[in-house]
């Protein structure tokens, strides 16, 4: 029956069912990822964010939730300008992190 509205699909993530193998490999290569406090400074300073939805904060969150495809799609919009690295209050080399993620996931795709 059409009531004129619908039930939205759940956005819940069951962490028990998430495969974090790739994320753990990334953690070995980029231990600084643990320092992220998800403040969003990287996203706020990103020139690509407004036009493409690029966000390092979201990319890290997506990886922790096993959403690898979304991350890879998002990172393809990065121009590697390095502004996020300059503003990070935790001193994370986000530019290097983005490159490491791309490298790791490209290897996986092969």
């Amino acid at each position: 029956m059409d009531f004129g509205f619908k039930i939205s699909p759940s956005s819940a993530v069951n962490l028990d069912n998430v495969d974090l193998t790739l994320y753990n490999r990334l953690l070995e290569a980029e231990p600084d990822i643990c320092k992220c406090i998800a403040c969003g400074s990287c996203t706020a300073s990103c020139p690509a964010n407004r036009f493409s939805g690029m966000s390092v904060r979201k990319a890290i969150l997506n990886l922790q939730r096993g959403k690898e495809k979304e991350t890879a799609r998002m990172l393809s919009n990065c121009m590697l300008c390095g502004k996020c690295t300059m503003v990070c209050p935790r001193g994370i080399n986000t530019r290097h992190l983005i490159l490491s993620i791309c490298k790791l996931y490209k290897e996986e795709a092969k």
Partner: protein, 356 residues
């Protein structure tokens, strides 16, 4: 559920509730949703327990729905509430009990605001005087009606004809308790048991023989949330919330749900029909839904009142399977017979959700 942990939280959030002499104010919407509930509250308090509860036909809405929908400013709500307090003062009462959760939250919020900003209270007193030449004393105690049934739960249990026990298996019924958001999420110290896991309904369930079940989305909103439902474009959000709750409680096979808010029982009840029609899914046993009750209805049931006098025929989800489980006597032929033998007419049966 780690029961010892909950007990510690509950012990930190207990409040003294006066025993008698209350000024009772009704909800705007409960009488349309489940009309037997407020009548049963007064019946239990006055006639079963012999307490003094005063009601005044002149009282109005508290303005809470309009306030939470952002359609009237808080000063207007405060003046409406000041008039209610004036009616209480004129009747000679000091303890104020609200039937509605939003009203309760609204009264508490206003009294706290007046504590913080006394000049605002002075302004409201002036506005009230200009509007209707009335003056008021602030209530000594504001309670929600479920606080009182909680306080009287053991007295009710002593007089109970039935207990929340499956008579076929002898096991306690598995009960989901759902607390209205405005009960203590805004002011945790004003609710029995605090904000996270209020004890008010758990206490009743335990006293009347049932077992409270814990599930992941236990504290999630029922989905009503005024602006979610009243704006038609947002109704998908409303039903999605309810759907999330049911999906979360389904693996625990609850026998019934008890709520203490006007909107929650209505939406948890009616959305089961809508979810069944949209997705073909039902959450109870054998194609039925999970019956949803107000705490007054459950108190009335355990005290042995006729289910149809409690207004249970106005629920969307059939209550008969649960009545059979508890062993409550009822006459199926009287289901749609109203007061003075008025024929309420049989509703059309839904396509998916099984009803009696």
């Amino acid at each position: 559920m780690i029961y010892q942990g909950k007990q510690k939280i509950w012990a930190d959030y207990q409040k003294e509730i006066p025993d008698d002499h209350w000024y009772y104010v009704r909800s705007c919407i409960r009488q349309n949703f489940f009309p037997g509930s407020e009548k049963m509250f007064l019946e239990i308090c006055r006639n079963v327990l012999g307490k003094d509860f005063h009601e005044n036909a002149s009282h109005t809405t508290c303005g809470g729905i309009a306030y939470h929908c952002d359609t009237i400013p808080q000063e207007t709500v405060m003046t409406i509430v000041a008039r209610q307090f004036a009616l209480m003062t004129e009747a000679g009462y000091e303890n104020y009990v609200a039937s509605c959760i939003t009203s309760f939250g609204n009264y508490i919020e206003i009294l706290q605001t007046w504590e913080e900003f006394p000049e605002l209270e002075t302004k409201i007193r002036e506005l009230l005087w200009k509007a209707c030449k009335r003056e008021f004393k602030k209530p000594k105690y504001v309670a929600h009606a479920s606080d009182l049934i909680y306080k009287y739960r053991n007295l009710i249990a002593e007089r109970a004809k039935y207990r929340l026990i499956n008579r076929h298996t002898g096991e306690p019924l598995k009960v989901v308790e759902h607390i209205g958001c405005h009960y203590s999420k805004m002011f945790p110290s004003k609710g029995v048991g605090g904000a996270e896991y209020p004890y008010v309904l758990c206490g009743m369930i335990e006293a009347w023989g049932g077992n409270v079940i814990d599930y992941p989305e236990r504290r999630h909103c029922c989905g009503y949330g005024f602006r979610q439902y009243h704006v038609k474009a947002n109704r998908g959000y409303s039903i999605s919330n309810t759907h999330k709750k049911f999906e979360s409680m389904e693996p625990y096979h609850p026998d019934m749900i008890i709520t203490n808010c006007p909107g929650c029982p209505y939406f948890l009840d009616r959305w089961q029909y809508a979810i069944a029609e949209m997705e073909g899914k039902t959450y109870g046993e054998n194609g039925y839904g999970i019956p949803v009750f107000t705490y007054e209805e459950v108190a009335g049931l355990v005290l042995g009142y006729d289910p149809w006098d409690l207004g249970l025929q106005l629920h969307q989800v059939a209550v008969e399977p649960l009545l059979d489980k508890i062993g409550v006597e009822y006459d199926p032929a009287r289901k749609y017979e109203g007061l003075n033998h008025k024929n309420l007419l049989r509703p059309e049966l839904p396509g998916v959700l099984k009803c009696c």
